[in-house]
């Protein structure tokens, strides 16, 4: 029993370590891809590491109260929570994390949880732009959660399961079995929601620096910011893995390294898709993005659900 717990813990740590580094490097790489479109070279791929070290190495910090501390902690907990309940590689013990039969629901909860924690922390910072950003963030999140949930429900309905592992298992056997092809409406709704979830353009209104200086984390600094950045990497990784699992057949191969390679390729492409849209568009205002999510993506999600219902 103890050994199994310890092994599990060890495996999770390995998995966490891999995803953290991968996500950080992915962030750095994507910054370079974005830079390429902008006609420049861009930051070094390892820049996110230095930034995090730098932020943690800041000597002073200002606190605004207990919730201000807890904000980043909740956020990180949200990120970790999201990640820890997603099986990264199908069939692998090491990367199975704590997946269980109802994990889709838990993951959806955790996606929300981090945001709420952040909202509490930011709200206490006293800076007027933080609550504005929080309000925007929550409003937008509510909006994109709708098509996302519909997509998830459609997928769950399709396979009759709320377990990610089972959903992935059902998609094995070739790309034609992926949800993306078996249930394209759900995939479309989900991927559109993913744009909002990743807070890239055109849905970056929450942290829009031109309008409200960086939004909720305006007052976050030093190690608070370091924590948020770490979370950003993990959360990003978690989300991409989730979407890979839900819609693109997950990553599965008897050889763990090949499986990791598949995972990296797929998540890279998923992220590239976000960046692809991101650099091409300005951002929506809050009510525009709400209107957007409640429009076509929701419709697509509904179609997907209805399709499954019939």
């Amino acid at each position: 029993m103890l050994t199994s717990i310890l092994t599990k813990a060890l495996y999770t740590l390995i998995s966490f370590f891999v995803i953290l580094n991968y996500s950080l490097l992915l962030l750095g790489t994507m910054a370079r891809v974005r830079a390429k479109v902008q006609g420049r070279i861009g930051q070094p791929v390892w820049q996110p590491y230095i930034d995090i070290i730098k932020n943690n190495a800041r000597r002073s910090g200002v606190t605004h109260g207990i919730m201000f501390y807890l904000g980043p902690v909740f956020r990180l907990a949200g990120g970790l929570g999201t990640y820890f309940f997603i099986p990264v590689i199908f069939g692998s013990k090491i990367f199975a994390n704590f997946s269980f039969s109802g994990d889709v629901l838990l993951v959806m909860y955790f996606i929300f949880f981090g945001q709420l924690g952040m909202a509490l922390g930011a709200g206490e910072s006293g800076h007027p732009y933080s609550p504005i950003g929080v309000a925007r963030g929550l409003a937008q999140m509510t909006a994109f959660e709708l098509p996302f949930s519909l997509a998830v429900i459609a997928v769950a309905a399709q396979y009759g399961s709320f377990s990610i592992t089972e959903i992935v298992a059902a998609q094995q056997g070739g790309w034609q079995n992926w949800v993306a092809f078996t249930n394209p409406f759900a995939m479309a709704a989900g991927m559109l929601a993913f744009l909002g979830m990743s807070m890239n353009n055109p849905f970056s209104i929450v942290i829009a620096p031109q309008e409200i200086p960086i939004g909720p984390p305006t007052e976050m600094h030093s190690s608070f910011l370091g924590m948020l950045q770490t979370n950003r990497a993990i959360f990003n990784g978690a989300k991409m893995v989730l979407f890979m699992n839900l819609f693109f057949g997950g990553a599965a191969h008897p050889n763990i390294f090949i499986a990791l390679g598949i995972m990296i390729m797929k998540t890279f492409l998923i992220y590239l898709y976000v960046v692809f849209v991101g650099v091409s568009f300005p951002r929506f205002r809050t009510e525009q993005s709400i209107r957007f999510f409640l429009g076509v993506p929701t419709l697509l999600g509904l179609i997907a659900v209805i399709q499954q219902m019939i």
Binding site: V33, K36, Q38, G39, R40, I41, F276, V279, S280
Partner: protein, 594 residues
């Protein structure tokens, strides 16, 4: 909104396939443009420290500071601009205005420091990496903030001028004077070089302001003979003028003349300060040349009673008797002299000390004596035949002309010498219709005469033969005389020495002429000073030794002018007179009682 609106934005990805705009090594690969206004450079030896850059800098960024290894000299203040990069705005107006063109800008633009005090430096004086940079901002051809050429002075044409004694230089009109005065950058470099240290920029400014009264005041502060000086001054100032580095110097002399020409003698009294109440002390001034008159003027202002003794019929000395009328009309000398006379200076004419009046009696009667008797005795040629009739001295000719006599020069004249007297004699002879040849031992560049005198004499048709050494004079056949002369070659005397003419053996030539006029210099005559007083004075190569207050070995006697000053020009004599006046004043107020 159409489908295009959704698809078109993705066209930005086209750029991802192209080469990035980024320059990876901008610092190394992007030097400033050839014209870039970067950090300053200064050709430190070309710079004269005139401070025009400081003047134009609107940011007060430039200081003039002494630089090690640079000392003040004539035409160089010894200061160099120090630029504060805590002020500079890199407008390069300093570069544009720099009269010497020494200031420039390199195309270097990176200077980082942690200490803000670093940002002050003397370009060229402190070694900087960009000192030798060829690229950088320079004033463009076709754009200039200063005028390099002087306003042309209206002059009689040579055809016209050689016919009469009418003054050749006609003087500036108001517009011309204003325009010329406008060229001045008011640096004040000339002040040190002017023997009288006249405040040149100030009176030029008065011209710009069209305030002649102010101008006259400034001029009289240092020069009581401006009408004469404004015409015949040797203008040492113009040789050091900052603008001369750019082109032509400001016509300082003509501008001074302009001021004087604008004011009638009758108005002088209202403008200039009047003499102090008489303080009862009496001073004798011997010689009414520029030195004597200057001393008389300044002493009179201080309240001394002045008596001037002069051997000639009219006052003015060499100004009147040594300079022909076409250069300095007599009424201008009269104007200067008359004002001094009006101040209450007594001038005794036709009274020769040593002949008509005993020097000793003056010595006893007066509280102090200033003498400035000038150089009157011409040097002889020291060659065979110089006693023949028709060989005369230039000074004598000029003297005769002044006195209204027609000189006996005949149809053709040879003038020997290269100084102003030689030129004057030659040109005067031209005016009497003679063919004139000037012989000079050295090269044209060595001639001590003023440039314009040489130029004008040639313009008026005097023939100049340089490197010619007179050998002997003989009685002529068709003409009165024959002058034999040999050609000389210039032999280098080493660094710092001027080359010496050496006769080329067997190069004898001959000119037939009616007169030979010698003008190779003069010497002083001290015979009027009695032995008992004379023994106190120190003489050095024919000159009286004086201290900075122009005091001679005898504390009561002061001297100045050509007899004491190697510069031998009117303005130096005036300066001597001024200094002597100061010296006499100090002497009489401090030392008389004991």
């Amino acid at each position: 909104m159409s489908l295009k609106d959704i698809i078109a934005p993705f066209s930005v990805w086209k750029r991802a396939l192209e080469k990035p705009y980024t320059n990876r090594k901008p610092i190394e690969t992007r030097p400033g443009a050839d014209r870039y206004r970067g950090f300053h450079q200064n050709a430190i030896d070309q710079c004269i420290g005139c401070g025009t850059c400081e003047e134009i800098c609107q940011n007060n960024a430039i200081d003039l500071v002494p630089l090690e290894g640079k000392t003040s000299s004539h035409g160089d203040s010894g200061l160099r601009p120090k630029i504060d990069y805590g002020r500079c705005c890199w407008c390069a107006l300093c570069v544009d205005i720099c009269p010497t063109g020494s200031l420039g800008m390199s195309n270097e633009y990176i200077w980082i420091t942690t200490d803000p005090e670093d940002f002050r430096f003397i370009p060229g004086g402190e070694s900087k990496p960009w000192d030798d940079r060829a690229e950088g901002y320079r004033r463009a051809e076709g754009y200039d903030l200063l005028e390099a050429e002087r306003v042309e002075m209206p002059m009689l044409s040579f055809e016209e001028s050689q016919k009469s004694f009418i003054e050749m230089v006609q003087g500036y009109s108001k517009e011309q004077a204003m325009e010329e005065a406008d060229r001045c950058v008011a640096c004040g470099i000339c002040i040190a070089t002017c023997p009288a240290h006249m405040d040149v920029p100030a009176y030029i400014e008065a011209i710009r302001n069209d305030d002649m009264g102010e101008g006259l005041k400034i001029v009289y502060n240092a020069n009581p003979l401006p009408a004469s000086c404004g015409r015949v001054c040797s203008h040492a100032c113009e040789y050091v003028c900052a603008m001369k580095h750019k082109g032509e110097a400001i016509s300082i002399r003509w501008l001074k003349r302009y001021i004087i020409d604008q004011i009638y003698l009758g108005d002088y009294k209202e403008i200039l300060k009047s003499a102090d109440e008489s303080n009862g002390k009496k001073i004798a001034v011997i010689g009414s040349g520029p030195g004597g008159l200057s001393a008389a003027y300044y002493l009179r202002l201080l309240g001394y009673e002045i008596t001037v003794f002069d051997a000639n019929e009219k006052a003015g000395g060499m100004l009147r008797y040594g300079i022909p009328e076409y250069r300095l009309p007599y009424e201008q000398v009269d104007k200067d002299v008359e004002y001094i006379r009006q101040l209450g200076v007594t001038i005794n004419q036709d009274l020769k000390i040593g002949v008509d009046r005993d020097f000793k009696s003056l010595y006893d009667e007066y509280d102090a004596i200033f003498f400035s008797t000038g150089l009157k005795d011409p040097y002889g040629l020291e060659i065979a035949g110089e006693d023949l009739p028709g060989v005369q001295s230039g000074l004598d000719i000029l003297d005769e002309v002044t006195k209204g006599k027609t000189p006996d020069i005949g149809k053709s004249v040879v003038v020997v010498g290269g100084g102003n007297v030689a030129m004057d004699a030659a040109r005067t002879s031209r005016r009497y219709g003679a063919e004139v040849t000037i012989l000079y031992r050295r090269r044209e560049v060595d001639m001590p005469a003023d440039e314009e005198e040489i130029h004008e004499s040639q313009g008026e048709g005097c023939k100049l033969v340089t490197q010619a050494i007179p050998l002997r004079v003989e009685k002529g056949d068709s003409t009165r005389l024959k002058l034999f002369f040999g050609m000389a070659e210039m032999v280098d005397q080493g660094e710092g020495q001027r080359p010496k003419p050496v006769l080329i053996e067997g190069s004898e030539e001959v000119i037939e002429c009616d007169s030979v006029i010698t003008a190779i210099g003069q010497e002083a005559d001290y015979s009027f000073i009695p032995e008992e007083i004379g023994k106190n004075l120190v003489f050095n190569r024919g000159m009286v030794q004086i201290n900075e207050f122009r005091q001679t070995g005898d504390s009561k006697i002061f001297a100045g002018g050509d007899i004491a000053n190697r510069k031998r020009d009117a303005i130096s004599a005036i300066a001597d007179g001024h200094s002597a006046a100061k010296g006499i004043d100090i002497y009489l107020t401090n030392f008389k009682e004991k």
